[in-house]
Subunit: 199 residues, 2 copies
DNA sequence: TAACAAGTTGACCGCCCGGTCCGCTTATTG
DNA sequence: CAATAAGCGGACCGGGCGGTCAACTTGTTA
């Protein structure tokens, strides 16, 4: 563990500006938004981007890390909730509420990006497994769906709405509700395919 | 309507090879697979690609057109089916069965590509609307979901499985079943957001 | 406030992409 | 079997990308 001396004041400010600009830019244009555009949006030179993040992938990883941290905070809180079904639904709501689908979808991708990301993502997976387990034992979720199933379905609401031109910002709630209804035990039909093991 | 004289034998063969190679390449690497790679895979020069398809987008449009045509054929057949609920499920199955998620996902995108695509896609939408209407009236689908909802959800199963490394090829069936259970009237909870109008 | 390290910048590099073009090959046809 | 047009291919082009670097600016600190 290297004890890094604190950033200079302007550098810290630029770092924050960059992360915000990059998140916005990725959300609007997808992951192939150019580094030059991100720099421009943040009001800094392109070189500054690469001073803070060695590669574009590192920048992405930093954003993903933030998002997963938020999710983990929410998850930890919801592990204490009294109603396990409502807790799982709220976790999924928090996940989907992290605005644009891109932000969420690429947290699955590659994975090899950084050890930090894979570690923090693994704890998120564990949290989901526990939330699902409780909800299932509580009868709020059908017995034949697994934690991995829910992790996979987590991003679906935002994905689905991404094809609607000028979608209202909360449209994902509709599809989260439909999918969640499909996860309930009432009226569940047997599933035609076994669950995957590796998320 | 221009009466085009028939392609030379080798040209027709190359066109078929190109469409197949492009479909494979897009499925494996996504829409930003390079034209050069597609040409190499088809065993032709890069120039040949652009002789058959003026732009890369035209090539994509040609593939999309094929896919939608298949869907329309299946849809037309299923409009005659006796069990409307089973018919809708089978239509979604056919749609998802068109192997890789990319193939399906980009049939939504842009749209401005060609008049032909938008026209044929529009008839596909109409077919779905009718299938959903019948299924709803038959009590196989909850009353508060619309045809647009189903169109949006159509690609979700393949999208979801795309994040599973070495997913078994039929894994999408599992998630189609879960989502379809969410579309049934039994145990449906009221939806928190009105449906979108523009698909 | 002087001196220095930390930070910034934009011109620049190599690479790969979609698309063009023209000399060459080949299927077709009378 | 010519003659010809249809088809082919790959060198080539402009542009945009991620990433580098050396000259310059600025926050920090003694």
């Amino acid at each position: 563990m290297t004890t890094t001396r604190p950033l200079r004041a302007d550098a810290a400010r630029n770092r924050r500006l960059l992360l915000a600009a990059a998140a916005d830019e990725f959300a609007e244009r997808g992951l192939d938004a150019s580094v030059a555009d991100i720099a421009r949006r943040a009001g800094v030179g392109k070189g500054t981007v690469f001073r803070h993040f060695a590669t574009k992938d590192d920048l992405i990883a930093a954003i993903v890390l933030d998002r997963i941290d938020e999710l983990n905070a929410a998850g930890e809180r919801l592990l204490e909730a009294t109603d396990p079904g409502a807790a799982l639904l709220e976790f999924l709501t928090v996940a989907a509420h992290q605005r644009q689908q891109r932000d969420l979808s690429f947290l699955h991708e590659a994975g090899g990006v950084s050890a930090e990301v894979t570690r923090v993502r693994e704890t998120m997976y564990q949290t989901v497994y526990t939330l699902v387990d409780r909800a299932r034992r509580h009868g709020a979720v059908r017995s034949d769906v697994t934690g991995t199933d829910i992790i996979l379905l987590m991003c679906a609401p935002n994905y689905v709405t991404s094809y609607v031109s000028d979608a209202p910002p909360d449209l994902w709630q509709r599809y989260l509700a439909i999918i969640f209804d499909g996860l309930r035990p009432e009226g569940a039909h047997p599933l035609p395919h076994p669950p995957p093991t590796t998320p």
